[in-house]
C-alpha cells in the first residue's frame, strides 16, 4: 500500500534562518506531489505542485521554493524565513488521473 511521510512534525525557527521540509511517498511511482499551507487552522493554500522530477509549478510567488530531486521526494525550502511563513504545511500526492489526494501528517512551523 502507499504511504506518505512528512517531517519534521513541528519546527521552531528564527526569522532569517533557512528551511527544509521533506516529504516522501512509498508504494507508488511517478506521483503528482503537492505542498499546501494552512494558516490559523482554516483553508488550504496550494503552494507548489510537481508532475515529475525537476518539474515544479508555483501557484503563489513568495519566500518559498520547492524541489523534486527524486521521483517520490518533494522538498519545500526557504533561504530566509519570515514571520509570515508560520503555519501548518501539508504534503500530498495523487496518482495520474482524477483520483483523490492523500496527505501527510503535516509540519507545524513557527517562525520566531
Amino acid at each position: 500500500s502507499q504511504t506518505i511521510h512528512q517531517w519534521p512534525a513541528t519546527l521552531v525557527q528564527p526569522v532569517g534562518s533557512p528551511l527544509s521540509l521533506e516529504c516522501t511517498v512509498e508504494g507508488t511511482s511517478n506521483p503528482n506531489l503537492y505542498w499546501y499551507r494552512q494558516a490559523a487552522g482554516r483553508g488550504l493554500q496550494l503552494l507548489f505542485y510537481s508532475v515529475g522530477i525537476g518539474q515544479i509549478s508555483s501557484e503563489v510567488p513568495q519566500n518559498l521554493s520547492a524541489s523534486r530531486p527524486q521521483d517520490r521526494q518533494f522538498i519545500l525550502s526557504s533561504k530566509k524565513l519570515l514571520l509570515s511563513d508560520s503555519g501548518f504545511y501539508l504534503c500530498a500526492w495523487t496518482s495520474t488521473g482524477f483520483t483523490e489526494a492523500f496527505f501527510g501528517q503535516g509540519t507545524r512551523l513557527t517562525v520566531v
Binding site: Q6, G43, L46, F98, E100
Partner: protein, 115 residues
C-alpha cells in the same frame, strides 16, 4: 477557474441528530468533487468522492454526499452525528480538463457535535 465555497464557518449539531455540511462549486465541465476531514494538528483524511454515476455517494465513517448538478452543490451528510465527528471538514474540486490539475479546497467548516 475552479472554486469551492463552504458558506458556513461553523455547524453545531446535537449528538444523534442528522448533520449537513454545505458545499457549492464552480468549474467548467463536469466536476470531480471530494470531502476531507481534519482532526487537530493532523493531515487531511479522505472521506468520499464523486467522479461520475450515482448522485448519492457513500464514504467512510457513515458519511455520504449528494451531488446536485443543477444547484452546483455537493453537501456532506450523516444521518446520526457522533461526538467523535467533531472536526474540520473540507470540500474540494478538481477540474476535468487536465489530469494533473491540483485539488482546490474550500475554507473549511468546523463541525461541533454536542453530547
Amino acid at each position: 477557474a475552479q472554486s469551492v465555497a463552504q458558506p458556513e464557518d461553523q455547524v453545531n449539531v446535537a449528538e444523534g441528530n442528522p448533520l449537513t455540511v454545505k458545499c457549492t462549486y464552480s468549474v467548467s465541465g463536469n466536476p470531480y468533487l471530494f470531502w476531507y476531514v481534519q482532526y487537530p494538528n493532523r493531515g487531511l483524511q479522505f472521506l468520499l468522492k464523486y467522479i461520475t454515476g450515482d448522485n448519492l455517494v457513500k464514504g467512510s465513517y457513515g458519511f455520504e454526499a449528494e451531488f446536485n448538478k443543477s444547484q452546483t452543490s455537493f453537501h456532506l451528510k450523516k444521518p446520526s452525528a457522533l461526538v467523535s465527528d467533531s472536526a474540520l471538514y473540507f470540500c474540494a474540486v478538481r477540474g476535468p480538463w487536465r489530469g494533473n490539475t491540483p485539488l482546490v479546497f474550500g475554507k473549511g467548516t468546523r463541525l461541533s457535535v454536542i453530547a
